[in-house]
């Protein structure tokens, strides 16, 4: 069969990597992505492993990379992705990368520091110039006169320390949000001895560190008295104001201003140079960083993988245990050979037997990947158990379509999926970030098949946007009924509802050749017919699906060498399932074939027969379907019930017997054991897979046969299966329920929206105009309710039917996937 039938063979391979070539070998293995490393040092903490120093160096380098990346981002530049595939560099290159990166980082830090300092200086100069340039002129004059006039009344004390009543000035700049507080404090502390004037600058200046523009307030304080001056200086210090020397004379002021402007001009030039140098450095970082990042990432991964190997000092090599697909063993050996001959040594790989369950590997392509994905979402299969995915490719869309059946809706879904499939190689589509789109895009092949099958089941249900179509002529003749029953126009006018009777000759002309007859879509009692049809269809499909699941278990039993389970489990299970529910299917089909309308009034009821079968009772009014039906049914029930103890006790008793037989012959077994676990030879194919499995299994059973556990496990399995048969068969009735819901929703939408629109207006113009918004509403609601909501609902229920009702007959799903050591993440 195909490679998806069960997991590929995965072997445990032991690698001997000489120390000189270990790094290159593991790096090469990472590029190939073939093997999964097993951690041989699980008991050792991360700090005690051999290559911890190298890992730490890589991590420090990564820290520097992060700093550089941050700087690049701050400057508003973008790092280009690395081109091509860069292999992990050899260890000696790490030093070079480290030096270069350190140098770049240091340069960047220096340049940034310089830039900061220059900007602070420039800011100071700008403030100074602003303060000097700010016109506090009228205030000055007022201050002079005011001070002069007020001198006498204020200062009563004769002479002394108040002799020097010169007016002094303090000029500076303060941040705008501190200005009111400053003003208030000055007034409270030095009231009467100063005049303060606050002015806002016209232009905002950039803050040197954060770059935010802020409009500073300049102030000019004129005061007299030494102590006041000291107070004022202390207060301005407190508020972190920038204070500048104030020059009263105009010429001195101008001269100072000119000097300041010259200084700031020079400073700006230097700043410009600095920024040019900074962008040069950033350019070098942009060139160096992406490949270095990729390389160091790979290097770290290689060292982490090497940390998982155990060291053998005697052979001066590293021993690694990896899981590798048997198919890939030649490629593995070639890779090891190539990378180790460069160093002049040789690395060896050979296969060893393993007691643990290997990981599961199933190779998929882009079509089968989505189906394998929905199986794996329930659970990854155990090693080499039967994989339900190849059957799910068809049965999942089919069961979805049974619940969704409508030609129009299926066609829309199919076209949407087709559009996605045809556009799948476009780069714009592949790099889309929207999660919901990614979900739909990932399932495009799923949607394609779902839509296709929905078109088919839509034809069978004869529904296209809830309308039926007569591809073939209908099998019911109204004319024949009308003619033979004398339905004149008057008669019809009196009776609003009349039923066609299949007993009348010529009324029923035969079954519609493809699907449901279109007359039923016109009938008022169409649900009576359709419900009966769909319920029986659900039960038939369910029993077939479940029987298929039980049959798939046969492959598992044969592959794992448990042939006793064929007789002791599969046969009783099939007998129970088919004896009871297969018989129900038989009754349904028999009634379809044999009971006709001639005695429809006394038609036997299958449900009553089925219930009486279990209760061993009899309903006199329900006539049998075939002679000696009661005898047959009683035999089937007895047979099915007899299977239950076989299922319950068969396998455990067999295992116990086998265990006891083995214990009675210990010596023969031990020799075999020695042979099985002998020293592995150097050839890769020294072990057949069957020997491995059988050897492993026997050891397991020898070691761990606990009777109570085996009985308990089997009891649970029996109860689950028998009760599950009943409940799972009933569970398949959701096929009926959802298809009914879909059909009804569809019909309501048509009747409430489109039919009203189509029936409006006699003139052509009115109807045409009105139909446009009505059709828009119909289309939006079809897509939103019927396609999206019903589609998701049917998807979910079909998924549940697969995961629970189908897979619990044979699938355990307790394995784990082979996740190979690969650098794929780094290359993206």
């Amino acid at each position: 069969m195909g490679s998806m039938f069960r997991s590929e063979e995965v072997a445990l391979v032991q690698l001997f990597l000489p120390t000189a070539a270990a790094y290159t070998c593991v790096s090469r293995l990472g590029e190939l992505g073939l093997v999964e490393f097993r951690d041989l040092n699980a008991s050792v903490s991360a700090f005690q492993r051999r290559f911890v120093v190298d890992v730490r160096r890589c991590e420090e380098l990564e820290k520097t990379f992060t700093f550089l990346q941050e700087e690049v981002r701050r400057a508003g530049l973008v790092l280009p992705p690395p081109e091509g595939r860069l292999p992990a560099p050899p260890p000696r290159d790490l030093l070079r990368i480290q030096e270069e990166t350190e140098r770049l980082a240091q340069e960047l830090r220096d340049v940034r520091g310089n830039q900061q300092a220059l900007r602070v200086q420039l800011h100071q100069l700008q403030l100074h110039a602003a303060v000097l340039g700010q016109g506090h002129g009228p205030q000055l004059a007022a201050a002079h006169t005011y001070a002069a006039s007020e001198r006498t009344p204020l200062l009563q004390a004769p002479g002394g320390p108040h002799q020097d009543l010169r007016v002094n000035f303090v000029a500076g700049a303060v941040e705008p949000h501190k200005a009111p507080a400053l003003e208030r404090l000055l007034w409270r502390a030095c009231r009467g001895f100063l005049i303060a004037s606050f002015r806002e600058l016209e232009q905002p200046l950039e803050h040197p560190v954060t770059g935010e523009p802020a409009t500073w307030m300049t102030f000019l304080i004129s005061y007299w008295g030494e102590q006041i001056g000291q107070k004022i200086r202390k207060i301005t210090d407190c508020f972190h104001c920038h204070v500048f020397p104030f020059l009263e004379q105009e010429e001195a002021c101008h001269a100072a201003l000119q000097q300041l402007q010259q200084q700031s001009q020079e400073l700006r030039e230097v700043l410009g140079e600095t920024e040019r140098f900074l962008s040069q450095v950033l350019g070098r970082v942009q060139q160096l960083l992406p490949p270095a990042q990729a390389q160091v990432h790979k290097m770290k991964a290689v060292y982490l993988a090497l940390n998982q190997c155990s060291v053998s000092t005697t052979h001066k090599c590293l021993i690694a245990e990896v899981w590798c697909a048997t198919q890939d063993l030649p490629a593995l050996q070639e890779a090891l050979r190539d990378s180790s001959t460069e160093e002049g040594v040789s690395a060896v790989a050979h296969r060893i037997p393993s007691r643990e369950m290997p990981p599961t590997l199933i190779r998929t392509n882009r079509f089968t990947a989505s189906f394998q994905g929905i199986v794996d979402a329930y659970g990854v299969g155990r090693y080499q158990e039967v994989n339900p995915a190849p059957y799910t490719i068809i049965t999942f869309p089919f069961l979805f379509a049974v619940m969704f059946g409508d030609v129009g809706h299926g066609l829309l879904m199919f076209l949407f999926a087709l559009a996605m499939v045809l556009a799948e190689n476009r780069p714009a589509v592949k790099t889309a970030q929207n999660e919901i789109w990614q979900t739909f895009f990932g399932g495009r092949y799923l949607l394609l098949l779902m839509g296709l099958f929905s078109v088919y089941t839509g034809f069978i249900y004869n529904e296209c946007f809830s309308r039926a179509s007569s591809i073939f002529p209908s099998g019911w003749s109204v004319a024949a009924m009308a003619n033979q029953s004398g339905w004149s126009d008057a008669f019809l006018a009196q009776h609003t509802m009349l039923t066609l009777d299949p007993n009348v000759t010529g009324v029923f002309l035969g079954p519609y050749p493809f699907g449901i007859d279109p007359i039923w879509s016109l009938a008022a009692n169409h649900l009576s017919f359709l419900n009966s049809f769909k319920m029986k269809m659900s039960v038939i499909l369910g029993v077939v699906h479940m029987a298929f699941g039980v049959v798939l278990g046969v492959f598992n039993h044969m592959h794992f060498g448990q042939r006793h389970r064929l007789l002791l489990e599969t046969l009783p299970e099939l007998t129970f399932l088919l004896g009871l529910f297969g018989y129900l299917v038989f009754l349904v089909i028999y009634k379809w074939l044999r009971v006709s309308a001639t005695n429809a009034a006394s038609a036997p009821s299958i449900l009553i027969h089925f219930i009486n079968m279990f209760l061993f009772s009899h309903s006199p009014t329900n006539r049998p379907l075939y002679p000696r039906q009661e005898v047959v049914q009683a035999m089937l029930v007895v047979l099915a019930l007899a299977m239950v103890p076989v299922l319950l006790l068969g396998t455990p008793l067999h295992l116990l017997c086998r265990h006891r037989r083995r214990l009675r012959r210990p010596t023969g077994r031990k020799e075999d054991k020695a042979g099985l676990l002998g020293l592995p030879d150097a050839s890769v194919n020294g072990w057949g897979s069957d020997e491995e499995k059988a050897g492993g299994l026997e050891d397991e059973q020898e070691a761990e046969l606990v009777p109570s556990e085996v009985f308990m496990h089997q009891a649970i399995h029996t109860i689950e299966f028998c009760l599950g048969c009943v409940s799972n068969t009933a569970s398949y009735l959701r096929l009926w329920a959802l298809s009914l819901a879909h059909a009804q929703l569809s019909e309501v939408l048509w009747a409430m929206v489109m039919r009203i629109g189509l029936g409006l207006g006699r003139e052509v113009g009115v109807a045409a105009v009105v139909l446009v918004p009505i059709f828009a509403a119909f289309a939006v609601m079809t897509v939103a309710i019927l396609l999206v909501m019903e589609g998701l609902s049917a998807f979910l229920h079909a998924l549940r039917l697969h995961w629970v009702e189908f897979q619990n007959k044979f699938y355990s799903g307790t394995g784990y996937k082979l996740s190979p050591f690969t650098f794929a993440a780094a290359d993206d």
Partner: protein, 114 residues
């Protein structure tokens, strides 16, 4: 597509002449013949069709890594689709009751489908 009839009293309607039956007769399309549907013919046709796909198809699948999957798909499709069609036709083989129609529908279908 016969359910969008406006409701009018049947007394006001007259039995239409052949010419006013509608586009079907005007275009010369023959009335759908009321011949009996056989059961054997569709069974033979569809069994052969799905049998070709499910039993003969696998022999023609080219050799390649996907051969097993494609064969599984063919057989599963054939089985599912054939079974579904078979259930639909068997359910209608011996109907126990007939459709219950409104009088307007009876009147319309009687003269449109005959």
């Amino acid at each position: 597509m016969l359910s969008a009839l406006p409701s009018r009293g049947l007394e006001n309607l007259q039995r239409p002449s052949l010419g006013s039956l509608g586009p079907a007769s005007r275009l010369g399309i023959p009335h759908p013949a009321m011949t009996a549907h056989s059961f054997a013919l569709p069974v033979i046709i569809f069994t052969t069709f799905w049998g070709l796909i499910g039993i003969a198809g696998p022999w023609f699948v080219p050799k390649g890594p996907n051969r097993g999957v494609i064969i599984t798909m063919l057989v599963a499709t054939a089985v599912c689709c054939y079974l579904f069609w078979l259930i639909a036709i068997l359910a209608q083989l011996n109907p126990l009751f007939g459709p219950q129609l409104k009088n307007e529908t009876i009147w319309y279908v009687r003269f449109l489908w005959e």
